[in-house]
């Protein structure tokens, strides 16, 4: 079993969904039930495979290094290879993806958004899954880029076809924004290839090979990646595609977008930008930190101004991803561990919140919070789940959100030695203020939607009922994980920490930092 997994463990779950999609392509559109079953079987198979990977990963007991590495020739002309592998940073995110997608299939089982068409919808979902899993597994920049882009198109169609009233605008905005960023990202990847000592796209070799690049060039190359990843995160001021995309996207689209797609950006920083270009990262870090804390406050203020529940959750993503980016910007093991934890936690929590927003919309046909109220009366269990998720989202200790937020704040008190302490300590205070505002918007949201008594227009509405079986099935794993990770964070930190320590280039290691950067400055 171990041998098999080591050779095929990553390729099979990556491409299984696309095979499933291909099978579905051959089946007529009107056999909806069969389509659903195939999609479910495929995604569950992938999830089971993910579980096997996890078991084997724990058994290998080498969290810091890449596991299940496959290294085969691919595009020899440009020295791009098919390299896959996961370590403690990527595995949690990959497993998150493998978990979320089947839950999305289950959730949409009986209610596909208009214009219905489960075949096309589920095919897109499967293609998305291939792209997302592949991105987390790829260890070659070109391969990474391909998977990164594979994600784009299905999401574009998902928003553009199954979205709300303003879907065209939102879809194109999403597409163009991201594409613009990835174009620059690709330029940066190419620049790395040409500038580094070894002509390679191998992410395992690049940290060493790129060390010789002149600092000024490094800063530019990092800049390209910054835009590529930063737009995906999204960081202030490149975030404006996010509220529109989320508001217009169908529920499942929003969930995937929040749970996984945003993480592709932050993952890019952690996996690619910082390990390969640490000196440039140190140059950029104060700026990234600044944008992160602006995002935290700005996202929170944006939330406070919302009347639309879904748009509020979307803006809260801006704020939460600000915490993740702040953690990354500290360039410390603590900060990056927090960031990875924050990514997973945000995926679970905000994913849940979008599920809930979708279910509220389905029942009330509106997300206008001034018209909602009394959810706890009409659908008590859903109301409590909403309250639970709001608490998790505002970073309540004991739930997952806290372990992304608090260590990020903590780390910014003492950033990597090359960074200015004063700057980051100011960021820390601002970020801490963000936690107050987060409590503000989430609790007001809760008060407006869940507390009180139902409005007259919905008081006797038979559509308003408590959570259904498919909803429970889709939500339970997320809710359990939010609690379990919150109570025992070592489950995740234990996996990420060795990998984070390994990925932090020696240049950022607090012990040797002085020497390395002095040497670089001396050049």
């Amino acid at each position: 079993m171990g041998e098999f997994l080591n050779d095929w463990g990553l390729s099979i779950p990556t491409f299984l969904p696309i095979i499933g999609a291909a099978v579905m392509l051959l089946i007529p559109k009107d056999r909806e039930h069969l389509h659903k079953l195939i999609a479910l079987a495929t995604t569950v198979a992938v999830a089971v495979f993910g579980l096997l990977l996890l078991i084997q990963f724990i058994d290998n007991d080498n969290y810091g290094a890449l596991n299940f590495v496959v290294d085969k020739g691919w595009i020899d002309v440009i020295d791009s290879r098919y390299i896959m592998g996961v370590d403690g940073i990527s595995l949690p995110l990959m497993l998150l993806t493998m978990l979320i997608v089947p839950l999305c299939v289950i959730y949409s089982w009986n209610h596909f958004p208009e214009p219905h068409n489960p075949k096309a919808f589920l095919m897109l979902l499967l293609i998305l899954e291939t792209g997302m899993i592949g991105t987390f597994a790829a260890q070659d920049l070109i391969l990474f880029f391909v998977f990164f882009e594979v994600v784009l198109l299905p999401m574009y169609f998902m928003i553009g076809v199954w979205g709300g009233e303003n879907r065209r605008y939102a879809a194109i905005k999403f597409f163009l924004f991201t594409l613009f960023g990835s174009a620059l990202m690709l330029v940066s990847f190419l620049a790395l290839y040409f500038l580094a000592d070894a002509s390679t796209f191998d992410m395992r070799l690049l940290p060493e090979a790129a060390a010789g690049i002149a600092k000024s060039s490094q800063v530019w190359v990092f800049g390209g990646m910054f835009l590529g990843f930063g737009i995906k995160v999204p960081m202030f001021p490149f975030h404006t595609w996010l509220p529109d995309a989320h508001t217009e996207a169908p529920t499942v689209g929003s969930v995937i977008l929040a749970a996984v797609l945003l993480k592709l950006g932050t993952y890019g920083f952690v996996r690619i930008a910082i390990p390969i270009l640490p000196e440039a990262a140190a140059e950029w870090a104060p700026f990234i930190g600044l944008l992160a804390v602006i995002g935290i406050i700005y996202g929170a203020l944006g939330c406070l101004a919302q009347r639309d529940l879904k748009r509020l959750v979307a803006f809260s993503s801006v704020a939460h991803m600000g915490f993740v980016m702040l953690g990354i910007a500290t360039l410390t093991d603590f900060g990056i561990n927090a960031a990875v934890f924050g990514m997973v936690a945000h995926g679970l929590i905000t994913g849940m919140l979008f599920f809930l927003a979708g279910s509220v919309k389905e029942r009330y046909h509106t997300l206008d919070m001034s018209r909602l109220g009394g959810l706890l009366v009409q659908a008590p269990r859903m109301g409590w789940i909403l309250g639970f998720c709001a608490m998790a989202s505002l970073g309540l200790p004991g739930l997952a959100g806290f372990w992304g937020e608090f260590p990020a704040i903590l780390a910014s008190y003492n950033p990597a030695e090359v960074l200015a302490e004063e700057t980051f300590r100011s960021y820390m205070v601002i970020a801490a203020l963000g936690t107050v505002l987060a409590a503000g918007y989430l609790l007001w949201m809760l008060q407006k939607t869940a507390f009180g008594t139902p409005r007259e227009e919905f008081a006797n509405d038979p559509h308003v009922h408590d959570a259904t079986v498919s909803e429970y099935l889709a939500w339970a794993p997320l809710l359990i994980l939010i609690l379990v990770l919150g109570v025992y964070p070592h489950l995740l930190f234990g996996a990420t920490d060795p990998a984070v320590v390994n990925s932090l280039n020696d240049c950022l290691d607090s012990v040797t930092s002085g020497a390395c950067f002095d040497a670089a400055a001396g050049k």
Binding site: F157, L176, L301, A305, V436, L443, H490, D497, V501
Partner: protein, 734 residues
Amino acid sequence: MLSANIAAAETAGKAVAASGWFLENAWLIWLFPAVSFLLILLFGKRFPRGGSEIGITAVGASFVFGLLTAIQWISKVEGAGGGGAEGEYALGAGGMAAAAEGEASGGVGALTRSITWLTNGAEAIGAGIMIDGLAVMMIFVVTVVSLLVHIYSTDYVAGDRRYTHFFAFLSLFTASMLFFVTASTTIQMLVGWELVGVCSFVLIGHWWEEKDNSDAALKAFFTNRVGDMGIIIGVSILFFGAGTFDVIGVNEAAINGSMSHTVTLAAALCLTAAVISKSGQFFLHTWLPDAMAGPTPVSALIHAATMVVAGIFMVARLYGVFFEGYAIGGSSINTLALIGGLTTLVGATLAFVQNDIKRVLAYSTVSQLGYMVLALGVGAWTAALFHLFTHAFFKACLFLGSGSVSHAVHSFDMKKDMGGLRKVMPHTYRTFMIGTVALAGLPILSGFWSKDEILVGTGGWGLFGGTGGNGAYTVMLAMGMITAALTGAYMTRVVYLTFFGEFRGHGTPHESGPRITVPLWILGGLAVVAGFINFPAGFQLVPASWEEKFLQWVEPVGVSYFPSIAHATPSWTLAIVSVIVALIGIGAAYYYYFIKVRAVSPVATELPDGPTSRSAVARLGHQILVNKYYLDWLYTTVIVGFVKGPLAKAAYWTNQNVIDRVVNEAGTRSVQAGNIVYHKVDQLVVDGIVNATGKISDSSGEELRRIQTGKVQQYAAIMFAAATILAGIFIIVI
């Protein structure tokens, strides 16, 4: 098992420490109610008593375990004291990483045990228990009050629409509070700190159908969040200052100076902000009176006896940081002492103008918490915790008494719906009187002993004899004295309005049932005797071995993680003066209500020509008090209103009309540019390229066309043109 342990304690001192099973497994104490929370939530409704029996069983188990833990602790301390120079007193056989750390200088150190909670930079960050006198004292207080409140609630909230849910959250609160007080790391304390906050939020908003209640719940949560910023930052500072989250390590670093004074002071200030919000100190106390919107048992448990003293506990736990940071030994007025002093006065003055009996008690709690903070600020550590201990019982007794009253008259309004209840509610009346006398600080009830110790601890005014301590905090002594008079006065007012005169409400009130009166009597009994646990040294009226038991059991002495604080010498003069002061307050109020007001009419509540109608100054003062020093207006209307209204709207406006506009403009212009390129350049000039692009677009657009409307090429053109233009913009901008 219990008797076996005690027996062992008496015979072989050292062996007991090794067999301190309950000490080592004290985490069970919070685990019981935590499990109970889940059980009640999942299965509570299926139980005949709606899950309350699960909660009571769990808290009862915690109480028993807590008591056994306390007994083991005491036997350990006594053993160490009796054994003389047992410098290297061993704790357990092994497996306690930090156990030996704390007792370098010969005292009985805390027992700690931990597991890896998270890992960072290959270093494990632990979570565990830290059991010492302070922890066992808190466990006792929390479990006793919680157990009684559970029993009381089975009657008080009987028939409530969310009965099961209520008990579930009582359990969760108890678990969180116990987790907090047994925490061995600052990060755990932070976790417990916020968890009790959220339980408080849920329970204040228990009847969330009414907006007033959910508003009060939100207010409590926000105000606490503001303070939580302080604890988040403070814990971070301490972590990097001391290099650890361990409570013992942090205290040691502060005391032995390995953490610089500036860092210690910064951390102390940040943590003080958290104390101000959580423990209802001036100027963030405003949430506490509003929190009375919650059910009364909740007010007794959370907003009087336990959660609000979390701040006191935190200061006591990290006393090394505060003592060194504020240089408490140096007599200079420090932040803690000042805030505590102001709070006692603010709380006591505001208690005068309330008509809601629970609000009076809430302000009274604010005032008493101020006493505790003041005591910590002047270095009277034991006095603060002793007052915490006694206050928990008499204030819980008063709150539950007010609940019993409201249960009978269906209202909390003293002026409209109460009066003359002493005849119909004898048990409630008697226990309430015990609580009142204890609160007013009259001998020989518990409040007298603890309040007196605080006043002595200020070390002010040498003329009373005694003094010593950590310096002469005369201002604090004066503040404490004034509050003593005010306390007696406002409580006399409450007693008159509630129990004397004639009944002003509707219906026929009657005494509550045994599930309410029995807890009242138990708390009343504790309010009488709790003070006897710490007779002052040299008291002479009791055997010397009865003196200062509390101090001996709770205060860590001779350990490296606790600063060496000086103790003030008790003074008969000061005790007598403080009692006289309290009696003056009581006498003044007695004269006003029991004689003057009653003379007007048995149902009167104020004099028709009271001071406010005669004096403009009194009217102004009354106005200020009624408006609660305008703090609520400042917070709710000015600050929150600004952030939620103009500021948030402005930010969103910027988002839509500035940032997004750039994007949209870029998009629109790109379309135009794309059209120009497409029609003028592309179609006319580079025909060959067009054909090539066309083919590619066509083939890739096959799928797209089926679903979409076949505008692939336009989109593609827009896309690339927009990318180019956006790239241009960003290059210029950056």
